[in-house]
Symmetry: C2
Subunit: 768 residues, 2 copies
Amino acid sequence: MNKDYIKPDHWSIIEEGFDADNVKASESIFSIGNGAMGQRANFEEQYSGSTFQGSYIAGVYYPDKTRVGWWKNGYPEYFAKVLNAPNWIGINVFINNEPLDLFKCKSVKHFRRELNMQEGWYKRSFEATLQNNAIVKVEIFRFLSLDLDEVGAIKYDITPISDSLEIRFHPYLDCNILNEDTNWEDEFWETLNVNHQNNQAFIVSQTVKTHFHVCTAMQTQLSLNGKVIKQDKRIDSFSNYIEFQYESNTKKGETLTLTKFGGYTVSLNHNKEDLIKTSKGVLNKVAKIGFEGLLENQKETWSKIWKKADITIEGDIKAQQAIRFNIFQLNQTYLGKDARLNIGPKGFTGEKYGGSTYWDTEAYCIPFYMATKDQKVARNLLEYRYNHLEKAIENAERLGFKNGAALYPMVTMNGEECHNEWEITFEEIHRNGAIAFAIFNYCRFTGDYSYIPEKGLEVLIAIARFWCQRATYSIEKEKYVILGVTGPNEYENNVNNNWYTNYIAQWCIDYAIENIGRIKAEYDSDYIRIMNKAKLSNSEIENWKEVSQNMFFPYSEAHKIYLQQDGFLDKELVTVANLDKSQRPINQKWSWDRILRSPYIKQADVLQGFYFFEDQFTKEELERHFDFYEPFTVHESSLSPCVHSVQAAKLGRMEQAYTFYLRTSRLDLDDYNNEVDEGLHITSMAGTWMSIVEGFGGMRVKDNRLSFNPQIPKQWKAYSFKINFRNQILKVNVCQNETNFELEGNKDLDILVNNKKITITPNSLVTV
Amino acid sequence: MNKDYIKPDHWSIIEEGFDADNVKASESIFSIGNGAMGQRANFEEQYSGSTFQGSYIAGVYYPDKTRVGWWKNGYPEYFAKVLNAPNWIGINVFINNEPLDLFKCKSVKHFRRELNMQEGWYKRSFEATLQNNAIVKVEIFRFLSLDLDEVGAIKYDITPISDSLEIRFHPYLDCNILNEDTNWEDEFWETLNVNHQNNQAFIVSQTVKTHFHVCTAMQTQLSLNGKVIKQDKRIDSFSNYIEFQYESNTKKGETLTLTKFGGYTVSLNHNKEDLIKTSKGVLNKVAKIGFEGLLENQKETWSKIWKKADITIEGDIKAQQAIRFNIFQLNQTYLGKDARLNIGPKGFTGEKYGGSTYWDTEAYCIPFYMATKDQKVARNLLEYRYNHLEKAIENAERLGFKNGAALYPMVTMNGEECHNEWEITFEEIHRNGAIAFAIFNYCRFTGDYSYIPEKGLEVLIAIARFWCQRATYSIEKEKYVILGVTGPNEYENNVNNNWYTNYIAQWCIDYAIENIGRIKAEYDSDYIRIMNKAKLSNSEIENWKEVSQNMFFPYSEAHKIYLQQDGFLDKELVTVANLDKSQRPINQKWSWDRILRSPYIKQADVLQGFYFFEDQFTKEELERHFDFYEPFTVHESSLSPCVHSVQAAKLGRMEQAYTFYLRTSRLDLDDYNNEVDEGLHITSMAGTWMSIVEGFGGMRVKDNRLSFNPQIPKQWKAYSFKINFRNQILKVNVCQNETNFELEGNKDLDILVNNKKITITPNSLVTV
C-alpha cells in the first residue's frame, strides 16, 4: 500500500519524476508553513489533474453547521472548521497561448521537487513539452517567511528551450474558495473589496458568520535573466478575483522570471479598516528587502531553530531525513508566538481536523516544544487553555456540571466543542487530565512555577471540580467510580472505571490540592485573588480529598495488573499476533461493535498512565503491564507507537523500541496508511521526537535535573539531539559505545547519566 | 403541554371549532388508512396555514442516502424510507373566484371533524365566510375502502348560505411531492405519464432508484341536491399534475356536490404496463357500486372487525373512546392480508420511522392481532421475517458472523437495516430474541405448530447460531458472556451481560434445540429439507448446548435480583421519585452520557424478560424485581407503561396498573408528548390493548387453554373484551363483582378463571 518515492537525503525531501498519481500526496508532503499561515504544495500554474487545493490561515475558522445522523442532546449546533483561505500563490502561465498544465503536456522531464528543511524553502523544476511543441525549462522557488509571517515569496523562472516563445504570466488572487469538507456545501467567504495599485493587488474578504476580515495581497515583478524589466500589464478584475497579465517574447535560452510576494493580513492582528494599508506596508517592506534578502533571513531563522532542535542520525539516511522532516513540520505548524493558536493534527496541510486542538498538544507536543524552544512557547500553549477556561466551564454546565467545574472540549478551535460522537464528545473526558498534567510537566521541565499562581491554579481547580462531580459513589464497591467513559483507547466506549481516567482524575485532584497549599503559603495575593474568584471553600476541598482518597481502581490479583476497565478480563483475550492479518486494520475491517468487544487497543491506555506517572510505578510493574497490554495493542493511532517505544527502551528492549520508532518516523513520507494526500499527521510527529529523546536517550527531568539513560539502536552508528534546558543548550551525542555531552551556556550543569551525577562545563566535551 | 380538545364520545373522535394551531395535530389524529394505503387528514381544498401533507402507500419506499456525522464501518449506505406519495385527495374550491382557504376566511363557524370508528369514515364540516363575504356551508365525507383497498371516496358538499354563488371545483392529482424528512433534498418521484379519459384521470409515476410504479387515479362527478348533473369541464394538465375544472352557479340553499373516487394501483401487485388499465377497472367497479354502496360495504367490514376486536368500558367515556381509537388505528394500519407488509410505528400518519418495522411488531403487536383476527394474520407477520431471513444472514455476515447466523435489522422496510447509531444498529441485538419469541407465542396461542416445520425452524436455527457466535467465553467468569450490547432500555449502551439479552439468547438456543428435536421426531421430510439447507451438524448443536448451559446471568445476592447488566449496582441509585421534576424528561434535559450513567430506565428491560417468560419465575421474584426496577423507570418510551401495567395487575396492584394504563391509552388523543403533529404512535397502541386484556383481564394461554384472572379498576363500572381463540370468539365482561363469559362458536371451551377450570358452552352466559 505505502508509497516510497521520496529520495533519501540528509536535509531535503526530494521527489524526482512526474507522476500524476503522486500529486495529492506530494501536495501534503511538500507543504510549507510559518506558524501564521501555510499551504499545500499546490502548483502555482493551472493543473487539471487530481489535486487538493489548500491554503490556511492560523486562527481563521468557520462555524459549520453540524451534520449528524441522530441528534443527541448536548451536541454543539456549530463546529469550528479550518477554512480553506483565498489563493494568493496562483500564477497561470501561457506559452505561445497554450496554458502550461503539467497534466496536459506532451511530456514532463526532469521533474523535481525539493523541500529544503535546513533553509526552509521549496523548489520545483521541470522541462515540459507542450501540445504546441513549445519546450520550456521551469523552476519555481517558494517559501513563507518566518520573520515576516504575513508574507510569502515565489520566484517563477521560465527558460525557452525549443525556440523563442511568447510567455504570459497571469499572477492572481482568488477568493472564490470552497472547503472540500463543508457539511452543507456552504460558501464560507464573502468578498468585500477588490483593489489594485501599481504592481500590487488586494482582495478583502470576510468569513461568513465569524466575520474574520482577511486582506489577501500580492505584488509582482518581471525580470529577464535576473534583471528587472519594466513591462506593461493588463489587469483583469472580477467580483472575487483579480489578475495581472504580463506578456513577453523570450528568446531561447533566456530566463523570464515572475517574482511574486503575497500573503494575508488578518483582523485578528490588525484593525479591520486598515487591512489594505497594512498589506501595502508589508509588501513595501518586503520589496525593499527583496527576494534574496528575505531568503537570507529565512535561512538564518531556520538555522536558529535547528541550533536548538536538530537531531542527527548517523548510519541511516532515511531515519535522518524522517526525523528532520518531523521537526521541520512541527516548526512550520506552530512557532509559539501567539497564545491564541495551537497545533492542529494536520497543521496547514489539510482540512480534516486541521487547525483544531486535541489533547495531542498537551500529551505529545508540549515536551517537544519545551525542549527545543524558549519556555515562553510552551507557556503560550498552557495559556491557550487558560484563555478557554470560561468556555470549558460553560461546556461542563451544558452537560450538567456546576460550581465552576470545567470540561475542556475534545476538539476545538475557539474553546467550543467541535466534535459530535457522544462516546467521544461527552465521554472521552480524560483529556481534562492531560491539560492539568501539561501544567505539571511545564513546571517540572522549566522550573518556572510562576505560571501556576498567575493562571494555572484556576484551571487546576476547575478540572478538580469536574472530576469530583463526575466521580460517583458506588455503594456496591464502597469507592468512587467513574462510569461511562472512553479512555485513550477509543476502541472501548462507555466503559466503567477506565484505569487511566480514574488515575489521572485522582492525580488532578491531588495536584490541585497540593498547589492550593503551596500558593496559600507562598503567593498570598494570588491566593486571595484566586479564592475570591473560584469561591472555593475548605469543605469543598475536604470533599475533594474524600473522592481522591477513595477512588476505585480495577485490579486483577491473578495477573497483578490494573485493568484497563472493569470488564476487560471478560473479553476473549486473543493477542494481536494470533489475529488473522486479513482482519487488520480492524478499524477498516470490523464493524464498531466487534471492535468494542474485542480486547484490541488502539493506542496506549493503561500504558499512557504509566508513561505520564512513571515515577509512581516500579520497573517490574511497568514490565508486567507492558507485557500484558502491548500484545493486545493494534497501534491504529499514529500516537501509539511512540509511547510504547519509550517504554520498550526503558525496559532495555531496544529491538522492540526501534521497531516502534520506525512505525512513526516515516508515517507520512512513506504514506503507510495511504492517506497522506489528505494532509500530514503533525501532532504524532512530536511522538517521533519523543521516541528518540525520551526513549533512546532516556531523557527525563528529575528534581530539577536532566537525567539520561542513553541507548542506541544497533542499526545506527550514532545519533545526537539537543535539549534547551533552562536557557542552556545541552547537546547529547550517543554512539555505540559512548555518549558525549556538550553544553552551550554559561554555567555548569549537573545532570544524571544512568543515575550517576555528572557535571557538564560549558563548551567542553564530556564523554561517558 | 398536552392538548385536550378532542370531544369524548363512545364511537367517534370529534373536534369542534376551528383552531389553526391544532391543524397538524388533527391531521394525525383523524388520519385514515386501510392497510394498503393511508393519509393524514389534510384538507382537500387549499390551505395556506401550517400543515403536514402526507399520503402513503404500504410497501412503497425509497432508499435515501444515509446521513451521518461520523461514519462507522458497517453502516448501511442507504436507508429505506417511507414515501410521501402523490396526492389524489386534492380538490381546490373557488367561491365567486376566491379560493376557499380556511386560513384566510373572514370567519369559520361550526367547524367540526368526526372520525367514526364504528363505521370507518371521516367527516369534516364548517360554515365559512370568505373575504368576498360569500358564506358557504361545507361538508366533506371521506373514507378509504377496506374491501377495495386501492380506492378511497370523497363527497364534497357546498351549500351557499349568503346568496347564489359561482362555485368552482378543481379536483386534481399531484405528483410533485416531497418528503419532509429527506436527507439530501432529493426528489423521490419521477412522473412517467399523465393521462385522462372522460371523467377519469391518471398519473403514472415511479420512485427513483426502487422503481415502484404507481398509478394515481381519480374519477369525478358533479351533483346538485343529490342528483348527478352533466357539466362540461376544463382540463388542465402539466408534467406531473392534472386537474378537472367544474363550474356551477349554485342557488342559495342548494347543495353542489363533487364526488371523487381515487387511489393507487401499484406495481407490487400488478404488471407495470397495466397500471392505468387496472386503475380504470377499479374506478369503473367503484362507480358501479357508487358512493353509498361503497360506504355500506365499509360499515359492514368494520362491523366484522369490531365483532372480534371491540373492547367496551362502562363508566369512563374517555377511556372507552381511547381504547377504540387504538384498536381502530391498528386496524387502519395493518389488516394482515399481505406478508410483505408490516406495522410501522407511525403507520400511515407520518414520515418519521413511518412504515418501517421494529421489534415492536413481535413484542407488542402480535398478541393483539392473534387475539382479534384470524390466525393467518399473525402468521403473515411471522412470514414477513421468514422472507427476510436471507437478508438477515447477509446483515450478520457484514458484522463478522458466519455459517448462516442471522441478525435481523433494528429498523427495516425490505429486510435491510435502516438505522445507523452503532449502539442501536450493531448492539441492540435482543431484537433477534423477540422474533424467535413471536414464533413461540404464535404456536402457544393458535396451537398451529405447522408454521415451525414449514418456515419457523429455519429462522430459529439462524437466530440460535447468531447467539452462539455472539456469546464469548470469559475465562474470568468461566461462563459465556455477551459483551457490548444495548438492551430494551436504550438508556444504557454498550453494556456487558444485559440480563434480558442473555436470557432471551439462552431461551432462543434452547427453543431451537427443542424444535429441532420435535421436527426430527414428527416431521421427517421437513427435517431432512431443513437440515440439508441449514447444514446443521450434531456437533454444532452440542456447541449450542455448551453455550446455553453456561450462559452468565448477573445477579445480586444482596438484593436477590438479576442485574440489568454487570455494572448496574455501581450507579447512583436515586429513584425517579427523588429526581427533581425539572430534570424530566431526561431525554430532553440531559446529555447522553449523563443518561447512560444514570440508573434511569427508558422502558421495561429485566421486566420485559419477566413479561415474556412469566412462567419461569415465581410471583415473589416478579414482585422483587418489579419493586427494584420500576422505581428507576422513567417510561420515556410509549412502549413502557403497558408491560408495567400488566405486571402491576398481576401483583394485584390495580391502582398502579390503572395509572400505567392511563399513560398510554390517550397518548395521542391528548398529545401528552406534544408531538402528535408528526404522526400517531401506532405500535404502542397494541400495548394499551395488552394492558386491558392481559393486565386487567389477566388473559394468558396455558397448556392450550385460555386463562383469566379478571380484575377491574375501581374507576370503571365494567369492561368487556373479545378473544378470537382457535376459531371461536369468547367475550369476557368484567364487572366490579362478577365476570361473565359468552362464547360464539360451536363447541364447548374449557378455560381457567383464577386457576379454576370452567367450561363455557356456546351461546350461554357463564358468570363467575
